[in-house]
Symmetry: C2
Subunit: 378 residues, 2 copies
């Protein structure tokens, strides 16, 4: 194999693949970078005697076209892939006949760090991460299979997509988030000293990715400028709306109505909906939980005692819904996985909790220690 470009990604590929005994030839215009990668164990510096099976071009997106054409002319490898986070532009280059199209498949590993350069590389960087491949119509099956094998050696999960589809997706999930993180971080540049004492995890999370290499990210945004601008224009429209709403609110008297509040809350609600749209996908639907209702009475700390009693059975505060008991005490409803429901029931009886399930007879309801608890599957 060959790796052209021994920065963070290229060196990590070299480290990951070398673990499996594959010889990796390292190429970089920056000799110190190549030597550093070799010294880390990512591969060897001498040129291969003949074409290698696969060359991974880990160069900035704007250099990809020329480097691919150059290495194909030299006959470095039988197949080529790249790691650039934008895919339509290189594909256009290839398909325009600048290079042999059958031996190239676009690639993009969804992995990275804020740090760059070979010293930031890790053999495990790609483990369990998605690695997109964007085969064109011209890409040969042999080329695709070589790239798939390399991805598998890196421990990543291959995802096949069209290049335009990929670029629209990363504009949304990676490039626009980066711009927004930078927009926020730029506001901190002249922040008063006191503000830094109030900086919490929220701000750190929102801005974290803004620490990335500005040249590299400028290059990425340039290569995907149209798709990024499209999403940012929608952000711009939302921002204008929320600013108008806030301006209205700031002009309103404190104890009057709240004109504009709906506009602000509406955006926040859409944000919450958007998060569940990416979080809720892909997982198998969970089996409906069994619901157990427990009468806690009004002794302080009873809910804490209940949670402590059930902690080792995997029941936590998230599984508890408080219900009014009608009387002076508190009832809670526990949502328990069907598989552990019987264990939970036994534990509750053992620890003296009483069922508040209306399906239970009066003997069980609000019974003292030893009462029988029943649950209903909705």
């Amino acid at each position: 194999m060959a790796v052209v470009g021994t920065g963070l990604i290229g060196t990590s590929v070299g480290l990951a693949v070398s673990r499996h005994g594959v010889t990796v030839h390292l190429v970089d215009r920056d000799e110190t970078a190549a030597r550093t990668a070799a010294a880390l164990g990512a591969g060897v510096l001498d040129a291969p005697r003949g074409p290698v099976d696969l060359a991974v071009l880990a160069v900035p997106p704007s250099q990809l076209g020329p480097v691919l054409a150059e290495q194909q002319l030299r006959g470095l490898a039988r197949a080529y892939t790249d790691v650039a986070s934008v895919k339509s532009a290189p594909e256009r280059h290839v398909l325009a006949g600048l290079a042999d199209a059958s031996s190239y498949v676009g690639g993009h590993p969804l992995a990275g760090r804020e740090k760059s350069g070979p010293l930031a590389a890790r053999a495990g960087l790609f483990e369990d991460r998605s690695w997109v491949l964007t085969p064109s119509e011209a890409t040969s099956r042999e080329t695709l299979n070589r790239a798939l094998e390399m991805i598998s050696l890196c421990g990543a999960v291959p995802v096949l997509m069209g290049s335009r589809e990929h670029d629209a997706a990363v504009a949304l999930t990676s490039h626009v988030p980066h711009v927004l993180a930078s927009l926020m971080a730029a506001r901190l540049q002249h922040a008063p000293r006191e503000a830094s004492r109030l900086a919490g995890q929220g701000l750190r999370d929102v801005t974290r990715i803004a620490a990335g290499d500005a040249r590299l990210w400028g290059d990425i945004l340039r290569s995907n400028a149209a798709a990024v601008a499209g999403v940012l224009r929608e952000v711009q429209a939302d921002l204008a709306d929320v600013l108008a709403a806030l301006t209205e609110l700031s002009a309103a008297p404190a104890d009057g109505g709240a004109p504009g509040l709906d506009g602000v809350v509406g955006l926040l609600d859409r944000g919450i909906a958007g998060m569940s749209a990416i979080q809720g996908r892909g997982g198998a639907p969970a089996a409906g939980p069994v619901r157990l209702r427990v009468a806690l009475g009004d002794r302080p700390g009873e809910l804490a005692r209940l949670l402590a009693s059930l902690a080792d059975l995997g029941v936590g505060a998230d599984d508890v819904t408080p219900r009014s008991s009608g009387g002076t005490g508190l009832d809670v409803e526990l949502a328990v996985a069907a598989l552990t429901a019987e264990d939970v029931r036994r534990r509750l009886v053992r620890d003296g909790f009483a069922s508040a399930d209306p399906a239970d007879g009066p003997a069980q309801q609000r019974a003292a220690a030893g009462g029988v608890l029943t649950g209903a599957t909705p």
Copy 2:
């Protein structure tokens, strides 16, 4: 003590203070919430017999003024503080004579979770977090001391600030980040299914706080609308600039120049500068490290061997700067804490690494195992 409002923050205060044996009286219009807090061990539900030492009003910002006036009329406590994340508006209420100003000090613990309600509460929520107090000119020293004691029982770090100064700071460090996270998350609402496979840690970090309670956050943004709008207008101007630059770039031919690239990279650079502005503050300047230069030669994996050799001495990849050796090998410079430099030197000698320090004589330079390494403090 009394806690009015047994949501996430109020219940957590109750749990934290109760640990120290202080009796906490819990008050909430929502009886189930109050019972839940009591059942968790945050305090008791019966009313205090006389005024308590301190009442913490943990109600939404828009209700703070009325609740404070009401509880002062009832004589619930000798001193009052609140936990609202906006401070000028309540202070205006108090100073306008709606309530006794000497017994009130504004407060804001810099702690929270995406979850809300008493069940999300934790006794350790405030540990080592900043807790701002914004005493007005009217605030009595006795009131301030009671609030300081409560903060100390919660394990938090008190920070005294003016209320306007506080509101400007949180607009920047908390409220605007929230709006930007929501703006990003709102874009995901109608994202194509494939995009979710590409969602990585960066996107999750940028949007994480957007999951917060929309009503509560609407209330917070409303209370600080002017300051938030001020910062957002600056964001809007930057966004317009970066959009113009991206539009220019997307219209430019692929192999032509890159008009607009400077505008994009300029924003990214300002973002990086902004991050270092909040990260670099507060810490004591580290003692200058000792620099050791090691000649690694050109055997593959030598740098990995060096890092493995020094790992238990706390030297990692971050402390390594590759240097060209002039020859075919690689030199690296190690930045080592002055205190451990001697240990590092001994280890390097033991494991057969050679000094590349020009200050060393030819006998030491590029010597085999046993060579003496020297370092220079810059």
